[in-house]
Amino acid sequence: MLPQASDYAARVDALFLAVTGVCVAFGVPVMVLLATFCIRFRRGRRVNRRGVTRHTLPWEITWTAVPTLIAIGMFVRAAGLYASLTRPPEDALEIAVTCKQWMWKFQHPTGPREIDALHVPAGRAVRLTMTSEDVIHSLYVPALRIKQDVLPGRYTELWFRATRPGSYALRCAEYCGVAHSRMDGIVVVLPPEGYAQWLRAGGAGPDSTLAARGAVLFRRFGCSGCHRDDGRGAGPSLLGVAGHDVPLAGGRFVRADDGYLRDAILLPARDVVAGYAPVMPSFAGQIGEDELFVLLAYLHALGRAAAPDAAPPATLGPGASGAAAGTP
């Protein structure tokens, strides 16, 4: 049988069994009645066939209403479980996933990068933020009962909390071209101490975290020239921005999540921050998807550097400057 590598997997299986129960409860009586009637009322058998009712309404109401109620019950139960799949905990381990024909790339926040394999600690929530460099793929881990399409040009998310250490298959589930069936990998669930050990062996360290590497990119791409921490550049300071609401020109507010930050870098003219001119050039074609994740990790570090309800970025004092760089 298929292993259950998480508590969620066990709950999906329980739901699967419940649906099976409903199917049996409806399907078996139908099959039995079909067979019984075919035998009992077979042409040539002497059996009472008189008194065929034309008064079908009570039957119709019954077999419309009962399945409807059961279907609503199934919907509610399924939706409840699904809700837990769409709400990752705040403290989840953030893994950046980039895929392309026909490989999976994973970046851990503390630095290690791996291809076609993902090492995660048991018992801890892991959140995957994913994007594709070419066509649509789909990350599928049967043992965890989870799957999410990975699209080019935007981020999709998936989270899980593996509970049972082991090695589990990872497959691409969305047809993606010639070697689709070979686009596989493994998810290795390690005990927490094993994961820490694996990280050390993989080169994790304060200088190699995504955020630290992002700080380097932030300067190399010239971002730091305009997005000065003191707010006196051509663009807004990015302290306290990521993960918080940002006022836009026109009075709207937008949550500066990964999707918004991504668009702000690649399509900067789309949603300009209030009080700034749309002067930023697009970095589309210059920053790869992997680097974008690295840069985002740094922006998130900046985002954590100031209180959520801080004054608008343009008036932020220089005091918070530099506090965030390098912290994972």
């Binding site: 999906v12 699967f16 399907g27 139908v30 119709e60 199934m74 699904y82 799957k147 040009g153 689709h180």
Partner: protein, 537 residues
């Protein structure tokens, strides 16, 4: 029903000419039905050949029979041909064309020449598609997902899309013809609530054809525009949205699923009534259920996209509506079952097919509940579970119903009987072959084997071998009717006007019917399936 008096025997529509010209320029709906029958049988053979190669390849986990590229082209060919060139036209264009005028007491469809044009459009689109797919091949899958299809595939995507685009007009025109015919050409006394249920289901089908097919046409045009002119519509690298394609595609293709299954439900209603000698239980509910399915079918396209990146709330809505679309289908199953009660049941070949349809459609429908349940769908979508689910509906349901209908009306179409024993053997073979082919695939999907996999992990081999073994039995089940039905054309015993003792206007005319169907237009004085207690004794 009032029988049309037949003073002198007229030559049948088959005797009205035997030159090629008499067939290719005919506007007789019955002859056009034959044009479709021959054409879609050829397409079925081509699609089936592709399926055979796929099942052979999947006997082993390694890709040892064909290359990755060839495998991908094979399943694309199989899907495109079977969906657009067999399933969609099957019952409507063959049985519908033959029966709509006969069942309502008309001499032909409302637009006979348009009907012939539909067939020419169909073979034009079909030949074009086939040429594109055989000369170079297409490797996008029948779903043409972007941006793979628009910017990454190096195969004949645009040519294939043009072929499918053209063929769509054939669907639209056939649907239009049926709608107008059913509104305007019903014989005196043939009220809507006296229509045979086959016609209610075709009416619902026609509405979907006319309303949904243009969306497919638009979508295919947009693909061509992006591929040729590089206008950003679906590819994010050009500023497009890949999910937009999926919304447009499934807005057509989900209703298209009902184009493929509703006519099969109609056929089943006719056969169950005829071989039980009973009026279909809850006639009005079965009729309305067809319309309900057609309507709800337009509102559930999002359930193909639960893991595609739709919002949580969109998924909730589509999940709920998907549960609801199961209700009218369930109502039909209950009514068919109840029709058997106190019937006079003859297990002749068409009835065996109809019973197989009910059983397999029930299984196919119930497995849809797993896919409507969001967390289960997340696990099994894009796996063999989904492959098994839709083949149970499409092959177990629709193809079975089509063959059932063909056997039921074959004496009417040809004036000949086929050997009953062989018919029963074929029906049972088909059912067993089907079960062995597709039931293991449900298990494969649950165990995590994605669809469209050329090579697969070795632990899936046993179930794949079972499935391939079943496919070879299924192939025999399909080949048998081809042989004995064709043989019956020459040597079969004559059928007479009503070999099954069935009600319905089509059984009041000679078999095969004369070119104009009715010597005088009948006047209908009773409801459909007016079987009496005496009929059942």
């Amino acid at each position: 029903m009032t029988t049309a008096a037949l003073e002198r025997p007229q030559p049948s529509y088959l005797a009205a000419g035997d030159t090629l010209r008499s067939w290719l320029l005919t506007t007789d709906h019955k002859r056009i039905a034959w044009l479709y029958l021959v054409t879609i049988t050829l397409f079925f053979a081509i699609g089936g050949a592709a399926a055979t190669l796929i099942r052979l390849e999947l006997l082993t986990p390694q890709g040892d029979l064909v290359s990755d590229e060839t495998y991908n082209k094979l399943f694309t060919l199989h899907g495109v041909i079977m969906v657009w060139f067999f399933l969609i036209p099957s019952v409507p264009a063959v049985l519908g064309n033959f029966l709509v005028p006969l069942m309502i007491g008309a001499r032909d469809l409302a637009f006979p020449r348009l009907n012939l044009l539909s067939w020419y459009i169909f073979i034009l689109g079909g030949a074009f598609t086939l040429w594109a797919m055989v000369s170079g091949g297409v490797d996008t899958g029948w779903t043409f997902y972007t941006p793979f299809s628009t910017m990454f595939s190096n195969t004949h995507v645009v040519l294939t899309a043009v072929g499918v685009f053209v063929t769509g007009f054939s669907s639209i025109l056939t649907g239009l013809n049926f709608i107008v015919t059913l509104h305007t050409l019903r014989a005196p006394g043939m009220t809507w609530m006296r229509l045979p249920l086959f016609l209610w289901s075709l009416y619902a089908t026609s509405l979907v054809m006319v309303l949904a097919t243009p969306v497919l046409a638009i979508t295919l045009v947009l693909i061509a525009v992006e591929r040729i002119a590089r206008v950003g519509i679906f590819d994010p690298a050009l500023g497009g949205d890949p999910l937009l394609f999926q919304h447009l595609f499934w807005f057509y293709s989900h209703p298209a699923v009902y184009i493929m299954i509703l006519p099969g439900m109609g056929v089943t209603s006719e056969i169950v009534a005829a071989f039980s000698r009973r009026r279909v239980f809850g006639y009005g509910f079965v009729a309305v259920a067809s319309l309900a399915i057609a309507l709800l079918g337009f509102l559930v396209w999002g359930h193909h996209m639960f893991v595609a990146g739709e919002s949580f709330y969109a998924n909730l809505v589509f999940s709920f509506l998907s549960f609801m679309v199961a209700i009218p289908s369930a109502v039909k199953v209950f009514n068919w079952t109840a029709t058997l009660y106190k019937g006079s049941i003859a297990l002749d070949t068409p009835m065996l097919y109809a019973l197989a349809f009910i059983a397999l459609f029930t299984i196919g429908g119930l497995t849809g509940l797993y896919l409507a349940s969001l967390p289960v769908d997340v696990h099994v979508t894009d796996t063999y579970f989904v492959v098994a689910h839709f083949h149970t509906i499409m092959v177990g349901g629709m193809v079975t119903a089509y063959l059932g209908g063909l056997h039921y009306w074959w004496p009417k179409m040809t004036g000949r009987r086929y050997p009953e024993t062989w018919g029963r053997v074929a029906a049972v073979t088909l059912f067993l072959g089907f079960a062995l082919t597709f039931f293991p695939q449900f298990a494969l999907g649950y165990l995590g084997m994605p669809r469209r996999y050329h090579v697969y992990p070795p632990e899936f081999q046993v179930l794949n071998v079972l499935s391939s073994a079943g496919a070879s039995i299924l192939a025999i089940g399909y080949a048998l009717p081809l042989v004995y039905l064709i043989a019956s054309l020459r040597g079969g015993p004559t059928a007479g006007p009503n070999p099954w003792g069935a009600r319905g206007l089509e059984w009041t005319v000679p078999s095969p019917p004369p070119p104009g169907n009715f010597a005088t237009i009948p006047r209908v004085t009773e409801e459909a399936y007016a079987y009496t207690d005496a009929d059942r004794e």
